[in-house]
Each structure stands twice: as structure tokens, then as C-alpha cells.
């Protein structure tokens, strides 16, 4: 059993690491990481815009975004992938690589999720901060930029990290539209070997475990550090909401 695992890793480690590259598209673990990192990097600014739109007094701005958030909360990611697979080529008018479709889906999905975290972070600051900034003559956007967002976003750092871990797990769903990631590479290995599916998928599970476990570990350490810093400077209400926001993002 153990020897089987070692043999598979010895024969296929490069395929699992980078896919068919350089003879084909980049794939494997490398592509999983690139896809996840790009998704979060793009979803983060999107989430701030969505949160501001949801907090806006202007209904034509608030309504569609609220609907988007509820759709992403209530509809399976798989269904959203199918939607993007159908809609993105219609919009662009050309064939789009599955990587781009998966990226679009994840940016929308995680952007909507994170926007709830941003919104909760802003709401948790209470009216006092906005009142104080307005009383000093700041405009609404100025108050957001210099007073509200710096606090809300700093409190959000742990949530962003845990969302990154969620995103890595979510990229596996790209399998359905043949995104060349780690899961796809493993199923290619399985198709070549045919006789050792348990060993192949066990390796796959272990690789994801090592990756997500270590990132979660890092995230927890950063969270503790932030909590310590916050304990010195900010009242306890914010750490309570950090708990609440964590709840929103934690999902399998």
C-alpha cells in the first residue's frame, strides 16, 4: 500500500505539480494556487465595492447587489459555474478558456461572500465613527476612506485568509468544466493507471490536506496577533463581530 503510494508519486509528481506544461497548458497544483490567488486578489476589491453598494441609500444600487448576495448564498457554486460557462462566452463572443470561466465564477462568488464580511465590519463600527468624521467635515466617501474602511479592512484580514483556504477547496469544482488543476491532474493519473483509484485519490486528499492545514495554521496565528493588537487599541465589540464574520465565511 505505502509502496504503491510512493511509486505513484515517483512516476507522476511532475504531472501533479504543473500538469502537461510545457507541452500543454499549465496545470496541477501550480494552477490551483494561481487560480486561488488570482480569485482572491480580484474578489477583494470587488467585495468592497459590493459592500458600499449594499450600504448605499440609493435603491437602484442597493437592490441588485443584495439580490446577487442572496443568489450566491442560496445557489450551489456548481450551478454558478454552469451559468458562467454559458454566459461568459456569450458576452465576450469568443471561446474562453475554462480557467477564465472558473476565475470569473470565483470572483463573483467570493466577492459576494466577502462583501458580507466587509459590510458586517463596517456596521460593527457603529454610528459614532461616522458621526465623528462627518462632524469634522469629512465627506461620506472621505469618512469611508480614512476612518471606516481602514478599521473594517484591518479586522477583516483573518477572514480573507480563511476565504483563501475556502477558495482553494472551491477550485476543485473546476473539474466539472475541465479546468486543468490538481484534481484534474489526479483524475488523469487515475485514467492512466486504472487499477489504483484509492491510492491516487488518497494522495490527492493528502496534498489538499497539507496545503489547507498549513494555510489555516498561518491564518490562525495572524488572527491571534491581530486580536492581541486589537485588545490594546480597540474595544471588545470588534472582536465579537470578528467572530460573527468568521461564521459567515466558514463553509466547506
Amino acid at each position: 500500500m505505502i509502496t504503491d503510494l510512493i511509486a505513484i508519486i515517483r512516476d507522476y509528481w511532475l504531472l501533479l505539480l504543473i500538469g502537461q506544461y510545457p507541452n500543454g497548458p499549465l496545470g496541477g497544483l501550480a494552477n490551483t494556487l494561481i487560480l486561488s490567488a488570482l480569485s482572491i486578489a480580484l474578489a477583494f476589491p470587488v467585495s468592497i465595492l459590493l459592500a458600499l453598494a449594499r450600504l448605499s441609500k440609493w435603491t437602484p444600487l442597493r437592490w441588485p447587489v443584495t439580490m446577487l448576495v442572496y443568489v450566491t448564498r442560496g445557489v450551489p457554486l456548481l450551478m454558478l459555474i454552469l451559468w458562467c460557462y454559458f454566459v461568459v462566452p456569450l458576452v465576450t463572443g469568443t471561446d474562453v478558456p475554462s480557467f477564465v470561466i472558473m476565475l470569473t465564477t470565483l470572483v463573483v462568488y467570493q466577492g459576494a461572500f466577502l462583501s458580507e464580511v466587509v459590510r458586517a465590519g463596517i456596521v460593527s463600527l457603529g454610528h459614532g465613527q461616522m458621526d465623528a468624521a462627518r462632524a469634522l467635515g469629512h465627506s461620506y466617501l472621505g469618512a469611508m476612506r480614512f476612518v471606516i474602511l481602514p478599521q473594517a479592512l484591518y479586522n477583516m484580514i483573518p477572514s480573507i485568509l480563511s476565504t483563501f483556504v475556502s477558495t482553494i477547496k472551491d477550485t476543485t469544482l473546476g473539474y466539472v468544466i475541465n479546468v486543468p488543476d490538481l484534481t484534474f491532474a489526479a483524475s488523469q493519473v487515475n485514467n492512466q493507471l486504472l487499477t489504483q483509484p484509492f491510492q491516487v485519490f488518497l494522495i490527492l486528499a493528502l496534498v489538499y490536506y497539507a496545503l489547507c492545514w498549513s494555510l489555516t495554521h498561518v491564518a490562525n496565528r495572524i488572527e491571534r496577533r491581530i486580536a492581541r493588537r486589537r485588545a490594546g487599541t480597540v474595544s471588545a465589540t470588534i472582536s465579537e463581530t470578528a467572530q460573527a464574520t468568521k461564521m459567515i465565511t466558514e463553509q466547506p
Binding site: 442560496g74 483509484p197 489547507c212 463553509q251
Partner: protein, 235 residues
């Protein structure tokens, strides 16, 4: 492609029947895996609170594995991997009894149990130690204090994350598509292949998922309100 036409889907008895079979399978997978997850979560919680240190670290390892490995990979490992290692009589029996649905229930249920048990645990830990002391001072024993004072508060604390994770589980039931279970997303893809009405059938599917998710959320909100009338009344 013709213009938007929902009736092309909804007035075709074959498609409607496929949709209902999909909803039925999704429902079986959801209820089955939810019940499995909740019973297992309570068992895991019991082991956590038992005095055996080995039990505690075993549960911690269980939770860690199921939270750090993607659900889809867990399903693949069960269906493509473990299924093939089973003795022939069991494989045969499973194959003739909707193996895909059974493995979807097992895979999703075992995974979700890790989340449910952590929700319950942090809910219990949020109950202040003063509650236990007060109950003991009034003459309750440990079990009685747990049963009448700590547990009710702990479950109430755990309700919001439990509801969130119940919605996640419902959404994740669509992953059963990958191991070939004939659930709702599977039905949607098949109807798309037969009708070429991609937009219409995706819209119908999205609305069905959204409706049931909102129903679960509303149910959770109702339970929270019942469990905590003072807060619910003001909110």
C-alpha cells in the same frame, strides 16, 4: 436559438418529471446526509467532553481532515476509491441500491459532521462558567445542570452557524453530480442536453435551489426567534 420561452420546459411532461426526480434525489441526499451529520456530530461532541484524552485528539483529527480536504475530493475518494476496495458482496448490494446516492449521503454526512460538531462545541463553550456554578449552587448535578441550564443556552448559541452550515450542506448536495448521482443539477444538465434551452432550464434550476435555501434560512431564523424571544422580538 429561439427567444426566451419557459413553457418549452415547463409544459413538457418529460422535462417536468425529470425535474421532480432530480428534486426527489436531492431531497433524499440532503435529509440523509443532514441526519447522519447531526447524529455523528453529537457523538463526536460526547467523545470530546469525555475524560479520555485519546478520544479528544481522535475527534480533533477527524475534524481537521474533514475541514481541510475539499468536499469534492472526499466524495471522489469514497466513490472512486473506497467503493472499489469493498468486498464483492457489499459492492454488488450497493450497486443495485443506488450506490451513488448512498455514497453521496456518506461522504457529505461525514464531512458535515465535522462542521456541526464544531458549531455545537463553540456554542457550548460560549456559555459562561458562572451558569454551571449557579446551577450547582442550586443543587443540580452535572448531568442535570448540563441538561437544563448549559445545553439549552449552548444550542441557542450554536443555532446561527448550524443554520449557515445546513444551507452549505444543501448547496453541496449538488457535488453528488460528480459521482453520477441523479440529483437536481444532474437533471438540469440532462434537460439542457435534450432541450438546448440552456437559459430557461438554468433559470428554473437556480430558482428551485434559491427557494429551498431561503426556506432553510427562514426556518433557522424562526427557530432562533423561538429559542431567544427577547432578542428576536427586538431585532
Amino acid at each position: 436559438m429561439n427567444g426566451f420561452d419557459l413553457s418549452a420546459i415547463l409544459s413538457n411532461p418529460e422535462f417536468v418529471s425529470m425535474l421532480f426526480h432530480g428534486i426527489e434525489a436531492t431531497f433524499i441526499i440532503y435529509v440523509g446526509s443532514w441526519s447522519l451529520a447531526m447524529s455523528l456530530a453529537i457523538l463526536l461532541l460526547g467523545i470530546r467532553f469525555s475524560p479520555l484524552p485519546v478520544g479528544n485528539s481522535l475527534v480533533a483529527a477527524y475534524v481537521s481532515y474533514h475541514r481541510n480536504v475539499p468536499t469534492l475530493v472526499q466524495l471522489m475518494l469514497w466513490y472512486f476509491g473506497i467503493f472499489t476496495l469493498m468486498p464483492d458482496w457489499l459492492t454488488g448490494w450497493l450497486a443495485s441500491h443506488n450506490a451513488e446516492v448512498i455514497f453521496a449521503i456518506i461522504g457529505l454526512g461525514l464531512c458535515q459532521a465535522a462542521y456541526f460538531s464544531e458549531d455545537l462545541r463553540s456554542g457550548l463553550r460560549a456559555v459562561s462558567p458562572g451558569q454551571m456554578e449557579a446551577a450547582k449552587a442550586l443543587g443540580h448535578g452535572y448531568v442535570s445542570a448540563m441538561r437544563f441550564v448549559v445545553m439549552p443556552q449552548g444550542v441557542r448559541n450554536a443555532l446561527p452557524p448550524l443554520v449557515n452550515h445546513s444551507v452549505s450542506l444543501f448547496k453541496n448536495s449538488s457535488l453528488a453530480l460528480v459521482i453520477g448521482a441523479p440529483e437536481l443539477t444532474h437533471a438540469i444538465k440532462e434537460i439542457e442536453n435534450l432541450s438546448f434551452r440552456t437559459f430557461e432550464i438554468y433559470l428554473v434550476g437556480t430558482l428551485i435551489y434559491l427557494f429551498i435555501s431561503l426556506l432553510i434560512m427562514a426556518g433557522g431564523a424562526y427557530l432562533s426567534m423561538r429559542a431567544n424571544p427577547a432578542v428576536g422580538g427586538h431585532a
